[in-house]
């Protein structure tokens, strides 16, 4: 929860980051603090959830949907798309349960009507359930889908 407040407070700071992108400031200092280091890495799912969302109480919901292939021919590039009809989305997280670093990617929403959709291409080492979490209005909702991988991707 503390992190959330910090993030909201740092919206002003993040306009600085835009300037940083243009090469005016040293960008590492401005943004690095906001990267949730404690969620990434070889941590179990519950720990990553706790680190990223501040809670690991999760409800399954059909208001969160995951669009992904049932079978991926190439584990190095698996397109996934998280969509939600929930209002007030605060953050979205994607966890590939059997990857060496399960927490794969996340989106932190600061306002401006973002958050209904997040898509990325991820790596998968082996066939695994992919869990998508959406935090909205203080609660965490999830959906899951198993993606079959025929060729591994974590070797690159």
């Amino acid at each position: 929860m503390k992190r959330r407040i910090f993030l909201k407070g740092s919206v002003a700071a993040s306009t600085l980051a835009v300037a940083a992108g243009a090469g005016l400031l040293s960008p590492t200092r401005v943004l690095a603090a906001a990267w949730p280091e404690s969620a990434f890495g070889p941590r179990p799912e519950a720990e990553a959830l706790e680190a990223f969302f501040g809670s690991s109480d999760v409800v399954e919901s059909d208001e969160v949907s995951l669009k992904a292939p049932l079978q991926a021919e190439n584990g190095a590039v698996v397109p996934i798309k998280v969509m939600t009809s929930l209002a007030d989305v605060e953050s979205i997280g994607v966890i590939v349960v059997k990857n060496p670093a399960p927490f794969t990617t996340g989106l932190e929403v600061m306002g401006g009507g973002a958050g209904a959709m997040y898509s990325a291409r991820i790596k998968m080492g082996q066939t695994s359930p992919v869990n998508c979490y959406v935090k909205a209005g203080g609660k965490i909702y999830m959906t899951s889908q198993e993606i079959k991988v025929t060729v591994g991707g974590c070797g690159g």
Binding site: V11, S14, T15, A17, V18, A20, G21, A22, G23, S26, P27, T28, V30, L31, A32, A34, W35, P36, A39, F40, G41, F52, A76, V77, V78, P79, V96, N99, P100, A101, F103, T104, T105, G106, L107, E108, V109, M110, G111, G112, G113, A114, G115, A116, M117, Y118, S119, A120, R121, I122, K123, G153, C154, G155, G156
Partner: protein, 104 residues
């Protein structure tokens, strides 16, 4: 070396979809160089920030589990024609890049 491309598409539900393609190796740090047997150090984008008219609206947190040349897209519900969308990313080695586009 860095190149970042952005596409903005009108969405059927109103607003726009912003699609970003960043050119980046996204090394996990687990791979080995086949010739020398040495580990290739991790090199990946950490954060990618989206701003609408200069105000940050969302930040994507990436790790080593995101594919090479990440293609990230998000939906903006409040964007309209003439707005400026800026995206900027920073990686773990301090490299960064940004792109800016006006919503048509």
């Amino acid at each position: 070396m860095a190149s970042t491309k952005m596409k903005i598409k009108k969405s059927a539900e109103g607003g726009h979809d912003v699609m970003v393609l960043a050119k980046h190796p996204m090394e996990t740090g687990l791979r080995k160089d086949k010739k020398t047997g040495e580990k290739i150090p991790a090199h990946f984008i950490k954060t990618m920030e989206f701003a609408l008219n200069g105000t940050a609206v969302a930040q994507a947190d990436l790790g080593t589990g995101v594919s090479t040349n990440p293609l990230i897209s998000i939906h903006l519900a409040n964007s309209k024609s003439g707005d400026t969308v800026t995206v900027s990313w920073v990686d773990n080695m301090g490299e960064s890049d940004s792109a800016e586009k006006t919503v048509s």
